[in-house]
């Protein structure tokens, strides 16, 4: 199992090495990776169908409770099959779509990486690894959206998508950590076992809020939906794979996965219903005014995601079943439509539905696939989409007091979606073929076969729902609801309200299609509302934020060493002062003090005199020299108190420091202007405060009872264990030798830094 999940990463790592082969004919081999994975997962179908749940555990960081544990149940199975199945088709499709592209190898690398992360996401049992895979999907999606990296728009969209989904990811991480703390485990299975504990936990509200933010950003729910249309800048295989079939459903997956654990409360259901309903209606209405096939599909995808969130929010058994079925329905028809858009774009170089028409005459198989997908999307019998829509209406109709409102919203959405589907899947292929497209021809079979397969599945599953009912949908239903009620998918339910509503939707949608013709003028009208759209507001916040960041950085990172020192000292003074204000426990135990000797008095006097010299001297050299004197006096004090090693080192260091100072200062001009009196007084006061506080702190430390355990250990074991009598040195080279290695490495890095900085400047002067 772990090999199955990681194979995508392994492939992604190997691809750069084989780039020559992949750019040539070899790329036709790559789709067999997802295909074999698909077969692998499908081989578990009978087991899953029997209601079994499979666990695979590999230890990773056991000390933090993070294991690579994978769990395969109905929901994971549905997603794994979608990921690998649609993945296979997309891999094949890419073979022709990007044939001869310079970065084809890179593209396949990103795609494999994405597939692996997505598989990891849906199979993870541990919620921390789930988060890691979640982030990996965001990152690989960033690369895929920005694949045309010489187009500034595409780079911008990639960044927007990454920042929105990445932000959501952070919320999700916080949510997962809270959840882990509340439930006492990071394993989903274990959490599920004490679900009621979490629902009654004090941080339950926070947990669901954070999970929602993560899921809504990923699944493009209102008001975070705006990254998705932008992400459509990516090559079409990416739009198909990530932005309709799999990645955007990761948020749905999370919500569905956590429904048995967190769902069923008023907060959970109400939020999801409201957000889902707003998203589905808002995006559906948006989709009907677009002219670009990809934009139409992008908005209808957002709307479909809204429907899914809405269904999960309803939380009844019927609605969860509808959600499970609709995930599959949507993936089948939407992926088809995207692939077809890619073909149309590839062959005619336009995606404008107002220009396109009559393409059936030149590419019949594509037209068939598009027609089938549009019908499944429309929910026309006997397509799989019909079953899906029936289930949705059934779910809304049986939802108590709000049934009429919710059903109304669902009908409105479905009408718009039907319209959008016809616009993208029907309009480009009917009517007269414009003259400029008469030379258009059918692409390579690897491009038109995948959408045909998907579209055909939409029809087959509709005609024979029994094919997937027991092995796939039933397990999905069980893992969503956590119970084993037997379900039945049927095409024909007899004459009832639901059928009536379906027919009403169909009629109104088709009517709308005849009446409303998308055009520049209509599209222009919708743009007027852009001013209030979440995107504008979010970007405004972004600008404010970066403005604030600029101010903040400019204020603190001003490049003057003295200001940095003042900031650091000032902050420390305030902090220490506050701490000492809270209560100091310092007294000087005169009995413990040794007697004052004449040497000490002299040394201290020398220090005081040098300090006065340092502060008041008008020459830099004098100041530096007197600083050196202070250093040497400190060495003497070390000597008096029997720390010869310290004294020696301090002595050499001080000598070198003075030499360095002199070297630098020797080359500086004489003091031209002194700093203002006011500033000097300020610095003086700050230094006095800081010095006093440090002195108080030192005295307070003295008052603490001394723990000599460590020093006694070193003193006793230095000779026995390390054959040395100089304890300081033994500690340096033996007991804490590893620290010393790291320290000398740091020294070397510093020296290299000085060297390269100064030498670099030399060169730029030379250039001038």
């Amino acid at each position: 199992m772990i090999i199955a999940i990681l194979s995508g990463f392994i492939a992604a790592a190997l691809i750069p090495l084989l780039s020559k082969i992949i750019k040539g004919k070899g790329s036709i081999l790559l789709p067999f990776l997802p295909l074999s994975l698909f077969v692998y997962f499908a081989s578990y179908l009978p087991k899953i169908g029997k209601g079994e749940k499979l666990n695979f555990v590999y230890e990773w960081v056991p000390s933090f409770g993070i294991n690579l544990s994978f769990h395969l149940d109905g929901l994971s199975m549905l997603f794994a099959l979608l990921i690998t199945g649609i993945g296979t088709l997309v891999f094949f499709y890419t073979y022709s779509y990007l044939k001869g592209h310079v970065y084809l190898d890179r593209f396949y690398g990103y795609l494999s990486m994405f597939m692996a992360s997505m598989l990891g996401l849906v199979l993870s049992d541990n919620i921390i690894t789930l988060f890691i895979f979640w982030e990996l999907t965001s990152i690989s999606s960033f690369f895929l959206i920005g694949f045309n990296n010489d187009d500034p728009k595409s780079r911008k969209s990639a960044l927007l998508a990454l920042s929105i989904t990445g932000m959501g990811g952070l919320f999700l991480l916080a949510g997962m950590l809270l959840l882990g703390t509340a439930g006492g485990s990071y394993s989903f299975q274990e959490l599920l076992a004490n679900g009621s504990l979490i629902q009654e936990h004090a941080s339950y509200g926070w947990i669901i809020l954070l999970v929602f933010l993560g899921a809504f950003t990923k699944s493009a729910q209102f008001p975070f939906h705006f990254w998705l249309p932008g992400a459509m800048k990516a090559p079409t295989p990416v739009s198909t794979y990530l932005h309709s079939a799999t990645m955007v459903k990761a948020g749905i997956y999370i919500l569905a996965r956590f429904t048995p654990l967190l769902g069923g409360t008023t907060e959970w259901n109400t939020t999801l219903i409201i957000v889902g309903a707003v998203t589905m209606v808002y995006a559906a209405i948006h989709s009907i005014f677009r002219m670009d096939m990809k934009s139409i599909l992008a908005y209808s995808t957002i709307s479909a995601l809204g429907i899914l969130v809405f269904l999960i929010g309803l939380g009844t058994e019927e609605s969860l079943l509808a959600a499970g079925v609709f995930i599959l329905v949507h993936a089948l028809y939407k992926a088809t439509l995207f692939l077809i858009t890619g073909i149309v774009d590839h062959e005619t170089s336009t995606r404008d539905v107002t220009v396109l028409g009559g393409l059936r005459k030149v590419m019949m198989p594509v037209a068939i696939a598009a027609g089938l997908a549009a019908l499944s999307n429309a929910g026309a019998p006997p397509f799989f989409g019909f079953i899906g829509k029936d289930l949705i209406y059934e779910a809304t109709l049986h939802f108590g007091d709000w049934a009429y409102l919710l059903t109304g919203a669902a009908i409105l959405t479905n009408i718009c979606l039907l319209f959008a589907g016809l616009l993208a899947g029907y309009k480009p292929f009917v009517g007269n073929l414009p003259a400029e497209f008469s030379k258009v021809h059918l692409p390579h079979p690897t491009m038109w076969v995948p959408p045909l397969i998907l579209a055909a599945l939409g029809l087959i599953f509709g005609l024979f729902p029994v094919l997937i009912e027991k092995n796939l949908i039933q397990p999905v239903f069980s893992s969503l609801t956590n119970n084993d009620t037997v379900i039945h998918l049927k095409l024909w339910h007899g004459f009832n309200v639901v059928l009536g509503l379906s027919m009403l939707t169909l009629t109104l949608g088709v009517l709308l299609y005849w009446k409303l013709k998308p055009s520049e003028a209509l599209f222009g009208k919708t743009l007027k509302f852009e001013l209030f759209s979440p995107q504008t507001i979010a970007l405004l916040f972004g600008r404010l934020f970066s403005g604030f960041a600029k101010f903040w950085t400019g204020f603190f990172q001003n490049g003057y060493l003295r200001n940095y020192v003042i900031t650091i000292l000032g902050f420390l003074t305030i902090l220490l002062g506050y701490r000492l204000y809270q209560g100091v426990n310092f007294y000087v135990d005169t009995a413990k003090l040794t007697e004052l000797t004449i040497y000490e008095v002299i040394v201290v006097l020398i220090m005081i005199v040098s300090i006065i010299f340092t502060v008041f001297s008008r020459s830099r050299l004098v100041a530096v020299a007197s600083l050196g004197v202070i250093g040497y006096s400190i060495c003497l004090i070390f000597l008096f108190y029997s720390a010869p090693d310290l004294a020696m080192t301090q002595f050499s260091i001080d000598t070198l420091t003075v030499i360095l100072f002199v070297l630098v200062i020797y080359n500086l001009p004489k003091y031209k202007t002194f700093s203002k009196r006011r500033i000097r007084v300020r610095d003086g006061i700050l230094s006095l405060f800081f010095g006093t506080l440090i002195a108080i702190l030192t005295l307070e430390v003295l008052a603490e009872p001394l723990n000599r355990e460590t020093s006694i250990f070193y003193a006793e074991s230095a000779y026995i264990l390390a054959k040395g009598k100089n304890v300081v040195n033994v500690i340096l080279v033996d007991f804490r030798g590893l620290d010393t290695i790291v320290e000398i490495t740091v020294l070397v890095i510093a020296a290299i830094g000085v060297f390269s900085l100064l030498k670099l400047r030399l060169k730029s002067i030379e250039k001038e």
């Binding site: 090693d645 020696m648 050499s652 070198l656 630098v664 020797y666 054959k723 100089n726 030798g737 020296a751």
Partner: protein
């Protein structure tokens, strides 16, 4: 600062100070001293020489860029730490020769380690000081 007295003195001081620094390095395990201080003293010796005779003189005396001492020293320190791995002990275990060598005394992996520190310190200090005095 190029007085005759300083110049003459520095010619004698350089070998003496370097010798002293080695002495400090070797005695480190039993008496105050060690690689760090030793390295600092050795670099002071070279810095004094460069003050008296000019940087070019000192550089031609050393023959190679002092920066090369840094990787050499790091490698010695690391190898002395890794040596115990060869005889199946854990990283940085102290290993000692049975008998003391004449003049040097007991020799163990700690001494090599300290020598590494010594070389790194010389390399770092001289690189920084030479670079700064060259640039300014």
């Amino acid at each position: 600062m190029k007085t005759i007295i300083f110049k003459t003195a520095s010619t004698y001081l350089l070998p003496l100070l370097v010798l002293f620094s080695v002495f400090i390095l070797l005695r480190g395990h039993y008496l105050p001293g060690g690689g760090f201080v030793g390295g600092l003293i050795a670099s002071i010796a070279f810095v004094i020489h460069s003050f008296a005779n000019g940087l070019e003189q000192t550089k031609s005396l050393i023959k190679f860029h002092p920066g090369f001492l840094m990787p050499i020293g790091l490698c010695i320190a690391l190898l002395s730490g890794a040596a115990p791995l060869l005889v199946g002990q854990s990283f940085m275990t102290g290993l000692w020769f049975e008998d003391p060598l004449p003049v040097i005394g007991m020799v163990g992996s700690a001494l090599f380690f300290d020598t590494g520190v010594y070389l790194v310190v010389i390399g770092v200090t001289l690189t920084i000081i030479f670079t700064i005095s060259e640039t300014l």
